[in-house]
Symmetry: C2
Subunit: 317 residues, 2 copies
């Protein structure tokens, strides 16, 4: 819908000071189909996409699905999982077609500073910037890649900042020459995004919502509560995450060598759902991802159960 | 959602007497993503899928998207675009993985009789049956491929019979061994179907709707009105279509040799949107697809405009 695309353009104008036209925007059935369309239009078999390890679990699967190759750059807990431009630069080769970034990041909660984004924009390859957690930041403001380059594909949606999970509504902002091929692919394979959801998205962008700053303040309280609780239990959180709603906590000090096994064991025996670090990349083995998209009361009860579990396993004194 | 999958299983039980379990069903963001998941799970590069010419425009693009090959079987206006088993059989080769059928058909409105479905079910390859127009029939009842074989993938949705266009809700019924691979692909690339739409679909299937038989009766009136009007204008309709809401009319008697050009010319000069036959396959060149998913009044006005257009072009006496 044109009014929704106009509202998206206005939103990026207001928030990031970038000038967009609706013709650069494709509304999709969520950010995931948006990434699919982006990679489909951008990559040939054998092309490479550079991305962080750990990162969102599905990214490598999208890339491999179209016979392209993910190239991983490690990010480390010690500096809050910061992505370093020099590591990206060293990974660029003749088949590098894009760098895929996600700030604030799932699973690390890391927010890329403006300086790093500016450097990434100048590296050469297209930048695919998954901005789905934009707005959910608890320190310095997040920046859009579009503040620094037009050679970028932005993916965003409504499920996080507007808590519209389940509506399946997202969008792509792309260089104009990629729009028509992506529209054709969308029309053939997916038809379009739900019209009901598009009207809802328009309301989300154009009406005032006192709930949003309130929600962000609530997340921030939970974030602090969770970091404190995790440290008290013996998990390592070297640097507090400042975005999204995740803490990727180091469980190696508690004897975790197989995060997949540990996460399932906690799920089954303690009834607490936690993401195994290994799901997000080899560099997060020994880590567990905790989400604070839940009430303080539930997080508190979750901690109590995990504590009992760890005690029963003799992982705590 | 499990309750929606249960309702879909019950619907197929009631309407076609087939016994399904929810575990055979995947809810999708429409029938199109359902076809994408089906072909993705079923085909390797180089595999072949047999389908009719003419047929739904996007089918060949889905098949080619995953580097498989469409193999076309012609269907002809003279016998109402009937699909013949012997033509299908002759097209089967070592790389044939599936036969893709669509009854009632877009664009022809043809409804495959039970006998033909039974024969197709016995040919050997998997049958992919796009049943999205099921229920919209104006003569003999339609049949599901599942009445005749379990080696089938059924695609269906809510946009036609429940007039839920824009909600983007469909489903796949598949052999159990294909469910998990398709779920994984859906979870990675698409996440899931809209939860709002899923609740709406559940209401569509489980609540009584006097509107539906009324809508079907209304379509039937429009169908007769349109066939009569097209014939009066000089279009050829050899056999009345008995399903969906389309008439694929022969415009060759009116001098149409380039249906793409003619359809755009009518759109621009007469303000009437018609599908060019060539969009649906080479065997429909010289034909135009008219939709009666519109009021009698609008169809009447459309005819008046097309008549003026044809007169101005000296295609009518």
């Amino acid at each position: 819908m044109l009014p929704l695309r106009e509202a998206i353009a206005a939103h990026y104008g207001r928030r990031y000071g970038v000038s967009l036209v609706p013709e650069q925007i494709i509304v999709t059935m969520g950010t995931s189909p948006g990434l699919f369309l982006t990679l489909s239009s951008l990559l040939n078999p054998g092309d490479q996409v550079i991305l962080s390890n750990p990162g969102y679990s599905c990214y490598p699967n999208f890339i491999r699905y179209i016979d392209a190759q993910p190239v991983f750059v490690p990010v480390d807990a010690e500096d809050g999982f910061a992505l370093h431009t020099k590591d990206l630069r060293q990974s660029i080769g003749p088949r590098t077609q894009a760098i895929l970034i996600n700030s604030p990041s799932n699973p690390t909660g890391h927010v890329l500073p403006a300086g790093t984004l500016q450097e990434i924009a100048q590296l050469g390859p297209y930048v695919i910037s998954d901005e789905i957690y934009h707005g959910l930041v608890y320190g310095e403001r997040e920046h859009s890649i579009l503040e620094f380059t037009d050679r970028a594909f932005v993916l965003n949606g409504f499920s996080k900042l507007y808590a519209m999970t389940g509506w399946r509504l997202g969008y792509i902002i792309a260089p104009p020459e990629f729009i028509r091929p992506m529209q054709k692919t969308q029309q053939n394979l997916f038809i379009c995004a739900s019209s009901i959801s598009q009207w809802a998205g328009l309301a989300a962008l154009t009406e005032q919502h006192a709930e949003i700053p309130h929600m962000i303040a609530t997340y921030d309280k939970r974030r602090k509560f969770m970091v404190k609780g995790l440290r008290a239990l013996g998990f390592g959180v070297a640097v507090e995450p400042t975005g999204a709603f995740y803490v990727l906590a180091d469980a190696r000090g508690l004897g975790c060598t197989n995060s997949y096994h540990l996460a399932f064991d906690i799920l089954e025996r303690a009834g607490v759902a936690i993401g195994p670090g290994i799901d997000f990349g080899s560099n997060a083995e020994g880590f567990l991802r905790f989400s604070y998209a839940n009430s303080i009361e539930n997080i508190e009860q979750g901690f109590a159960r995990v504590e009992s579990y760890l005690r029963a396993c003799q992982r705590l004194p």
